[in-house]
């Protein structure tokens, strides 16, 4: 079985984002970038399936400028077998990303696509579901447990009220949630080895997908800052403030 894992390059989750002065977006220049944390969990799961003998090959795919090759190399250093870089010069919306990934899936014919449930930059939470729609495949979203058996997958989803167990047909798209696993760190020898692993590059044009944006950004602004209030000295004062000042209890 082959597994395709799309990985997105985003601002590192530890970095505090800053809105550009002209309100056209957030500042990306000279900001530390990293693999979307949810996609790391997807890579880890694919590697575990390969190590368990369920999968033979793990292919990491990333869409964006040439720097995205670093993100693919991170996946390769974790243990993915090869990478595909789809070169694109500007931000691409989830629908177009799904179309590009569909082209990759049609070429690679994986039985499973594992991907993060959302990217921590645009927080759209759309790509996996859209890819499933375009392929006509089953989708398992927000997954914290996965068990493959033949042409079916048993999945556990993290839903609002708790957990939900579903059975979905393979091939499938599975979008992963936080508690599925804890991703491994790439060791130094594996980082060196990753430099020799195959990484193909292909352009958006070669895949024949129209990636022109459908939505336009009017402006991006900082949320209204919340200011710190006061410190109370004890529980008695706290209850008094809540009752008589804030009037919330």
């Amino acid at each position: 079985m082959k597994i395709v894992v799309p990985v997105k390059r985003v601002i590192d989750y530890n970095v505090k984002v800053r809105v550009k002065a002209d309100q056209s977006g957030v500042e990306l220049a000279n900001v530390k970038m990293a693999m979307n944390p949810f996609d790391e969990i997807a890579v880890e799961q694919a590697l575990r399936l390969r190590e368990a003998g369920t999968a033979e090959e793990v292919v990491a795919v990333s869409i964006g400028p040439s720097q995205n090759q670093e993100t693919i190399r991170t996946a390769l250093a974790m243990g993915a077998d090869r990478g595909i870089h789809i070169e694109a010069s500007h931000d691409i919306e989830p629908l177009a990303v799904a179309k590009l990934l569909k082209a990759v899936v049609e070429k690679e014919s994986p039985e499973l696509v594992l991907v993060g449930k959302q990217a921590i930059d645009d927080d759209c939470n759309q790509t996996g579901q859209m890819l499933a729609a375009l392929l006509g495949w089953a989708q398992g979203t927000f997954v914290s447990g996965i068990e493959l058996s033949g042409d079916k997958a048993k999945i556990i989803r993290e839903v609002d009220g708790g957990l939900e167990h579903l059975e979905i047909a393979m091939p499938a798209i599975v979008t992963v949630d936080l508690r599925l696993n804890e991703p491994r760190y790439a060791s130094l020898p594996n980082i060196m080895k990753a430099k020799k692993k195959p990484l193909d590059s292909i352009s958006v044009e070669e895949l024949g997908v129209d990636v022109s944006p459908r939505l336009s950004i009017v402006k991006v602004e900082e949320p209204e800052a919340r200011s710190a209030g006061i410190k109370v000295s004890d529980v008695g004062e706290l209850v008094d403030k809540l009752k008589n000042e804030a009037k919330v209890i």
């Binding site: 984002v17 919306e93 799904a98 927080d123 939505l215 336009s216 006061i230 410190k231 804030a246």
Partner: protein, 310 residues
């Protein structure tokens, strides 16, 4: 043109987030239709028809639409889509699962998790876990939208009298089936709609210590939540999690106990009206957003709080 809202319901009850979604739809303007799909749709259809502001309820009471299976539900919505300018759902795990599949089938870009309606084509939504707010404009023929429920005041659940119309079910896509749920049962109010929320973090040290918070919650009529750290440590189940990747809450009062205040947690609660923080570390970032901060050992302060509340 009219707006179609995917109604979320369980055992004949309408989920609260659906009422907030109706409120967002009213700001866009136009007739509001509601799709009630799934088994036991009879009671749910009547409940949907009673929601203030709903003009028509479309019902497809077929069991294959139960549990919000996206592979079955999306084609049904797509079949209806031609009559509507906007397709909306609350940004719940059901809405987030189904709506992008609908959008892709219609070849339109979805607008996720809106917190403000500027007009019928322009909306505001949080990005980067709410650290920036983007105003987005769409020229798509059909706008597919999910709504952050805490950003819109719910409409009344009763007082409306919409017409109910039955629609035909499609064939089962045969791609997915429901097995079972493990839902947390609680007598307390639901986290996302509770007027008061009390949450515990890593400082709680152990799951059994959440009993302290539950006692306070019961006196206040509050829901109990948790930070990601507390969930990851296995103190409480995942559906307790408040934060960027958990639930977003905006109650009248939010009490954070033993929570340091990581960005990812703040993203889920910083729109609460009043925030209280109890933490023994006076440098904890949670104090920077708290209206009332108490620097104290939670194991002393929480039992005392329970006693003070009488």
């Amino acid at each position: 043109m009219a707006i179609l809202i995917l109604c979320e319901h369980e055992d004949g009850q309408i989920a609260g987030a659906t009422l907030n979604t109706v409120a967002a739809a009213q700001q866009i303007g136009g007739d509001i239709h509601m799709l009630v799909a799934g088994d036991a749709s009879g009671d749910a259809a009547n409940a949907a028809a009673a929601i203030m502001g709903v003009d028509k309820v479309l019902v497809s009471a077929d069991a294959m639409y139960a549990h919000g299976l996206a592979e079955n539900l999306a084609p049904l919505i797509v079949k209806l889509a031609g009559d509507f300018s906007h397709l909306m759902s609350p940004a719940t795990t059901t809405g987030k699962n189904v709506m992008p599949r609908v959008a892709a089938m219609l070849d339109v870009m979805q607008i996720s998790d809106i917190i403000k309606v500027e007009n019928d084509t322009t909306f505001q939504r949080p990005i980067y876990a709410g650290n920036a707010l983007a105003t987005i404009s769409s020229s798509e023929a059909i706008k597919v939208i999910t709504v952050r429920s805490t950003a819109f005041e719910a409409v009344a659940a009763t007082g409306g009298s919409a017409a109910i119309e039955t629609i035909d079910a499609d064939a089962d896509a045969g791609l997915s089936s429901y097995v079972k749920s493990e839902l947390s049962s609680s007598e307390r109010p639901e986290l996302t709609s509770a007027p008061i929320v009390i949450s515990g973090g890593r400082g709680m040290q152990d799951g059994s210590n959440f009993a302290m918070l539950e006692k306070v919650a019961d006196k206040l009529g509050a829901a109990v939540g948790a930070s990601r750290a507390a969930v990851d440590a296995g103190f409480v189940p995942n559906d307790y999690q408040v934060g960027q990747t958990g639930k977003v809450v905006a109650p009248d009062l939010y009490v954070a106990v033993g929570i340091s205040g990581a960005i990812q947690h703040l993203a889920g609660m910083k729109d609460s009206k009043v925030i209280v923080a109890i933490n023994k570390d006076d440098e904890a970032p949670i104090f920077q957003v708290a209206d009332f901060g108490l620097v104290a050992d939670l194991f002393d302060a929480v039992p005392e709080l329970e006693k003070e509340l009488g």
